[in-house]
């Protein structure tokens, strides 16, 4: 029997697979396809203090081995999410991770505090790395001092374990990660999308209405692996890895790099069953490469 379970702060996961934030809404749509209880956890779409309508369209573009998105944090606001969305996911036997975002430190604190009331939420994922909003978001994610301050403030107001989601749009990911760890984060999640652009030849202008967007999908997997590998060597808090995962082999690669669990984003759009498929094939892949459990494989790619 291959043991898929992993224990992370606040998250006793039956398996290490979860849909990534923004790629799974609040679970409703994908619950038409399979029983969400199969999932280790669900990372909800970002929550902000008030309802946000997001950017103009077009919001997505296809790229070689990936896609660009500039949704702009559209969400119904934290109150609505707690009232309408969390209870829906709570029907299932899976962990709930609330992704939170904001334009100001106060907004992050407000949203984090609001989730204290949501007893079914198991952890927070602090999205300090969204490239698609005009203010906040990415600034907090590129300056280690700012990121640390934000982490500290959120830790202070929240009853929940806090995972900070790192931006790959930095020159030194280790500085950022160590500053966030020192500020008291319970874990890291990485990576968010990488800033990119596509230009419409006929219109002679950027294709996305927001001009820039975040690159995701298999195109970014090597970057995610490299960054997790580097960060793993310098921190002792667990890492939830993501970026281009499409199958159980990819999951093992993330585990070897140092991730303790993984999230699957863009791949859900191609195959709505991708998460349960990966969960089902993971034992075989672990066994094939000589592991008896997920736990055993974490960080084993380091020389």
């Amino acid at each position: 029997m291959i043991d898929l379970s992993v224990k992370l702060p606040g998250l006793n996961l039956k398996n290490p697979i979860m849909p990534a934030s923004g790629c799974f809404g609040f679970g409703r749509e994908y619950s038409q396809f399979y029983d969400l209880s199969e999932l280790g956890a669900i990372m909800m779409k970002a929550a902000t203090a008030e309802e946000r309508f997001g950017n103009q369209t077009p919001r997505v573009a296809e790229t070689a081995s990936g896609m660009l998105n500039a949704i702009g944090l559209q969400n119904p606001g934290v109150k609505q999410i707690i009232a309408n969305e969390v209870p829906f996911i709570a029907q299932y036997d899976t962990k709930i991770i609330a992704n939170i975002a904001g334009s100001t430190m106060e907004e992050y604190e407000y949203v984090a505090e609001a989730f204290n009331e949501a007893t079914d939420v198991d952890a927070l994922e602090l999205n300090i790395s969204c490239p698609n909003v005009k203010e906040g978001g990415i600034q907090f994610g590129t300056d280690p001092a700012m990121a640390a301050m934000l982490t500290e403030k959120v830790k202070k107001v929240s009853r929940l374990p806090v995972y900070v989601k790192l931006s790959p749009n930095v020159t030194n990911i280790v500085d950022l990660a160590t500053a966030i760890e020192a500020a008291g984060a319970d874990g890291l999640s990485m990576i968010n999308t990488i800033t990119g652009m596509q230009i419409d030849l006929a219109k002679r202008q950027p294709l996305l209405a927001n001009q820039v967007g975040g690159l995701s999908g298999p195109a970014i997997k090597p970057i995610a692996i490299r960054m997790i590998y580097e960060v793993y060597r310098h921190v002792s808090i667990p890492i939830i890895g993501m970026g281009g995962i499409q199958n159980a082999e990819d999951v093992l690669e993330f585990l070897l790099a140092g991730a303790s669990a993984v999230a699957v984003g863009t791949a859900n759009f191609q195959d709505p069953y991708i998460c349960p498929k990966i969960i089902n094939s993971l034992p075989e892949v672990l066994e094939k490469y000589g592991f008896h459990s997920v736990q055993e494989a974490i960080g084993k790619g380091h020389v």
Partner: protein, 248 residues
């Protein structure tokens, strides 16, 4: 909506860069309503391609798609051969509401014609009196004229006047007598003109936007609405909307 595998029965070029693909699938043929679409996985591409259902033959469990080669994805799709299998999500979205209609005007522009065809056939089965205006760029782009003629009085308009009447679909709207509802699908400038010109009528518009998940989870394909709900999702709440509800 489900993920389904469909076997391709035929692929045929029916007009300039325009392909008709017939695929076989029981579930979709039984459940599809006019206005719904299939979200088609194309080899080598990250995102699925949304294509409307142009016709259903329930007896043979056959679905007809008509698409124009626009970029790389549709080019690849057009190269698919008979007997190959395609993976689709569908039927997706909400169809056109079609109950209690008497006299209806159908308007289709370019690749907006396929869903209007399926709709027209269904309305004709319900004895609805139909008039159809189909707009194309030029003579070589015209398709399905004979199909529409079987159930509707049909006016063809081409932008350059190389076939039918010259101009845009809105140029012939004044020729149409009384009708109680209209339905339109086509490029946004056409829909805007129709929405404006027929603002005193009850109408339904079917919209296109770049999509990712196609099921309502990712918030990529939204359209602003006039009420304070702000945005609606084209893939899940649409692609059909009441004309007065949305801001084009």
């Amino acid at each position: 909506m489900r993920q389904e595998l469909c076997v391709i029965k035929s692929v045929q070029e029916i007009a300039l860069d325009t392909y008709e693909m017939k695929i076989v699938n029981k579930h979709i043929s039984e459940h599809a309503k006019p206005g719904q679409f299939l979200h088609i996985s194309v080899d080598g591409f990250t995102l699925r391609r949304p294509i409307s259902i142009a016709n259903i033959d329930q007896v043979h469990e056959e679905i007809t798609l008509v698409f124009k080669v626009f970029g790389q994805g549709t080019k690849r799709l057009a190269s698919y051969q008979q007997e190959m299998t395609i993976n689709v999500l569908g039927p997706n979205g909400n169809g056109f509401p079609i109950n209690d209609r008497k006299k209806v005007l159908l308007i289709g522009g370019g690749v907006g014609v396929p869903p209007i065809h399926f709709l027209g056939k269904k309305l004709a089965e319900q004895q609805v009196e139909l008039t159809t205006i189909l707009g194309f760029q030029q003579k070589e782009s015209v398709f399905y004229e004979a199909e529409f003629n079987q159930f509707s009085e049909t006016i063809i308009v081409t932008n350059d006047g190389s076939y039918g009447e010259k101009g845009f679909v809105t140029d012939v709207l004044t020729q149409i007598d009384e009708f109680d509802h209209y339905y339109a699908c086509g490029p946004v400038p056409m829909l805007m003109a129709v929405q404006k010109q027929l603002s005193d009528k009850q109408g339904f518009l079917s919209l296109e936007e770049r999509m990712a998940c196609g099921v309502g989870a990712c918030f990529a394909c939204v359209i602003p609405t006039k009420d304070r709900s702000g945005y609606r999702k084209i893939c899940q709440d649409g692609p059909v909307f009441q004309a007065e509800e949305i801001i084009l």
